[in-house]
């Protein structure tokens, strides 16, 4: 590795600030460059730590003990987190549902058997009755998302948001689709700041300046409705606002091209240029998907330009478009040891919007449509 020489940064260096290759470990992890000191003595004597506080005003330092004062803890103290966000355990006990609510096939065994059985099949065309069921479940999904969004404020934990979503599903006689899907432990995904998607609701309190994506899916009358959106917690900085607006614009532009005969591969070709023009990048590992009686099914919908996606949109099929947009040019992500949480690889923030769409004879119907973004 070759890097320019950096001189000891101590303001009171007794050695005349010589060049050094010894770096502050906290700065190294946080990605703050240039924090070099000629010796441990010099480092100790400096008021350097204030730099960390400036960089991470709302988070404890990465090397904090894993147990916090309120008995919550970081279950993966040795994991190399890419940014300041940490899991905050214990997770609340698994939430229960009344018996009368219809369950999808994975609710008990965690394995979506019907999805596997249908792998490789072309997208399913729904009958008018089935389309009505999709309309209903998607409208309810939007209601639940709006309820969850209304609860977003500094101080609420993501677990409390999970409870709101879970209870709102029950009130609507619907199953919260994420619950136990491939062992996912909660009823909603809450993805904060650098979390790209699949954040697990835990005991972390939302903080002024955070952004949070809430991803809600309901299962009712045999069909899933899938919707998500990103919200500010209190006041957020301009960069985060721009990120959220960009993510919304990416989705809106993509929806505009949807109609029978449109190519699935052109959806990503529409999204990525919008992201790039705004200094952002489109995540590649996670894609949009067909949604109907199956939570995730054909077609697979890449959100990036150079893709070889197969197929064209057909009237009567339902799919989601849900671009995950990262600040900066890095679309890579890392996964926490919980096997779900995906964060950006560089710790920068990520935002996302999702709608469930029905392709109609003449164009597209946004089944989960809500109010326009206000930011």
């Amino acid at each position: 590795m070759s890097a320019p020489e950096v001189h000891c940064q101590s303001s009171k260096c007794p050695n005349g600030n010589p060049a050094s290759r010894l770096e502050c470990p906290t700065c190294h992890k946080l990605g703050i460059t240039g924090s070099f000191f000629c010796s441990q003595e010099c480092f100790k004597g400096d008021s350097h730590k204030v730099v960390h506080d400036l960089a991470t005003p709302r988070q404890s330092l990465p090397d904090d003990p894993s147990t916090n004062k309120n008995r919550t803890f970081n279950p993966f103290p040795h994991f190399k987190f890419s940014g300041p966000l940490r899991p905050c355990y214990p997770l609340s006990p698994r939430r229960q549902l009344p018996d009368h609510i219809q369950r999808p096939d994975y609710a008990e065994g965690a394995v979506p058997l019907s999805e596997r059985k249908n792998a490789g099949m072309p997208p399913r065309v729904l009958s008018p009755e089935e389309q009505d069921k999709m309309r209903t479940v998607c409208r309810l999904a939007r209601e639940v998302l709006d309820l969850a969004a209304a609860a977003v404020h500094p101080g609420i934990t993501t677990d409390e948001i999970d409870k709101i979503v879970h209870d709102a599903c029950i009130e609507r006689d619907a199953y919260p689709s994420p619950l136990n899907y491939r062992h996912y432990p909660k009823s909603v995904c809450t993805s904060v700041n650098e979390c790209v998607c699949h954040g697990i609701p835990d005991q972390r309190k939302l903080q002024e300046g955070d952004i949070i994506n809430i991803d809600v899916t309901l299962y009712k009358d045999g069909f899933h409705g899938d919707v998500n959106a990103t919200y500010p917690v209190g006041r957020i900085d301009e960069e985060s606002k721009k990120l959220i607006r960009t993510a919304r614009q990416c989705l809106d532009e993509a929806i505009k091209i949807c109609k029978p005969g449109a190519l699935v591969r052109d959806i990503g070709k529409t999204i990525e240029p919008v992201a790039r023009a705004n200094g952002c990048s489109a995540v590649r590992t996670y894609t949009g998907h067909g949604v109907n009686d199956l939570f995730h099914t054909a077609p697979n919908v890449p959100h990036y330009a150079k893709n070889k996606a197969i197929g064209m949109l057909k009237a009567g099929t339902c799919l989601t478009i849900e671009p995950m947009i990262n600040l900066g040019g890095n679309w890579d992500e890392v996964h926490w040891p919980d096997n779900w949480t995906a964060t950006t690889a560089d710790g920068k923030r990520s935002a996302q919007f999702e709608e469930t769409l029905l392709i109609t004879e003449t164009g597209v119907e946004v089944l989960t449509a809500g109010k326009p973004l206000e930011l």
Binding site: C24, K29, L61, R182, R284, K306, K308, V334
Partner: protein, 384 residues
């Protein structure tokens, strides 16, 4: 550690890896070659040579037991929990690594790359897989996820070992079997970019020639190297870029001599059929953008819907296993067609200075089932 406790400085010169999330600008994508072959054709001899000889490449040989392919695709949706990974490593004196990975597919190989780093090539051995096509398409699609991030794997090509003594017999037996189920050897050839025709020292020259002719009849777009004891310059097997954006290695000329002199717009084509698998090879003139669009529609109707655009009808059982092509437009642009099964890409590539005359080299090759006269006529109608 308390907030006011001072951590120990770290020596940045002794760090093991780059900090996470920093793309390594010097990192090159690592080509992955799939090795397949007829039973007893010498696959293990080839692998043994690669793992023991001093050839100067750092190669990771992965013995694959992919099992259920639905698990391999799970990366696109969610991360499978309860990660059961069983791996065995064998690091060899010549710098190569031999390992077996069970069931975690693309993600496991990327993980291996991240941990073991810096291989020049990866060879994936596909024991027990009748048809390398699905695995090839998974790796080809997976290229899209990692591109430019320093740990990406690119599909380099599919190599198939054929036994010069028994290979012809195996192909004949497979093509003679029921037309609905195409035999293993023919599917391997259809997916292959390179064939090593091995054990030529043990077979009469005439048989070697007949075998090679038969191989080309199944797949006119592949290159054949004759070998003894699988001895081959590795540069002919790895790093061939069969799926790269450059012109594909269409090594076989269109056999119809007249078509070289045919007028623009007229299409020369040859068409071979081994029962079960056949190929269609068509020369094509420089295309207007309207014709290019029409060709794209034709290709996707064929690959995605397994039929021909109306009014043509190819009947039942149309299935494309592989396609390749090089196209030119009337305004001098150059495009490469690559396809495996339903997945394809038609991508513009830069024309290097002075490289070929316009109109020289447009060619399309399709390999699969049910490529009858109707397919040829329908394609010619699009190009004409």
């Amino acid at each position: 550690m308390q907030d006011d406790e001072i951590p120990t400085l770290i020596d940045v010169d002794n760090l093991e890896t780059l900090p996470p999330g920093q793309p390594d600008p010097g990192a090159k994508p690592v080509p992955l070659t799939i090795i397949t072959g007829f039973l007893g054709a010498g696959k293990s001899t080839l692998l043994k040579r690669i793992l023991t000889e001093r050839h100067g490449y750092r190669i990771a040989v992965i013995m694959n037991e992919f099992g259920d392919s639905t698990d391999i695709e799970s990366k696109t949706i969610g991360v499978e929990s309860g990660d059961v990974r069983s791996e065995e490593f064998l690091e060899l004196p010549n710098g190569c690594l031999c390992c077996s990975i069970k069931d975690t597919g693309v993600a496991a190989i990327e993980e291996l790359m991240k941990r073991k780093g810096a291989f020049d090539y990866i060879l994936l051995e596909t024991t027990g897989l009748a048809d390398p096509g699905p695995i090839a398409s998974i790796f080809w699609q997976n290229e899209e996820y990692g591109k430019g991030l320093g740990w990406d794997i690119i599909l380099d090509g599919v190599v198939c070992l054929v036994d010069a003594v028994n290979g012809l017999h195996q192909m004949m037996a497979d093509s003679a079997s029921n037309a609905d189920s195409v035999g293993e050897s023919l599917r391997q050839l259809a997916a292959a970019d390179i064939v090593l025709l091995n054990k030529i020292d043990a077979a009469p020259l005439k048989l070697v020639e007949e075998t090679e002719a038969m191989i080309h009849r199944v797949n006119p777009a592949l290159a054949v190297h004759r070998t003894m004891r699988a001895e081959i310059d590795l540069a002919k097997v790895i790093g061939i870029g069969a799926y790269a954006s450059g012109p594909p290695p269409i090594t076989v000329h269109v056999h119809d001599e007249h078509c070289a002199h045919s007028e623009v717009g007229e299409v020369g084509s040859t068409h071979y059929a081994v029962r079960g698998i056949s190929s269609l090879q068509v020369r094509c003139p420089p295309l207007s953008s309207a014709k290019l669009d029409a060709l794209d529609i034709w290709i996707r109707t064929l690959l995605w819907d397994a039929r021909l655009p109306l009014p043509y009808d190819a009947g039942e059982g149309l299935e494309i296993l592989r396609c390749k092509g090089l196209l030119e437009t009337v305004d001098g642009r150059r495009l490469v067609l690559q396809g495996v099964r339903s997945m394809y890409e038609l991508e513009e590539v830069p024309r290097k200075g002075g490289e070929g005359r316009v109109g020289d080299e447009g060619k399309l090759v399709f390999i699969g089932k049910g490529l009858g006269e109707a397919v040829r006529e329908s394609l010619e109608a699009v190009l004409r």
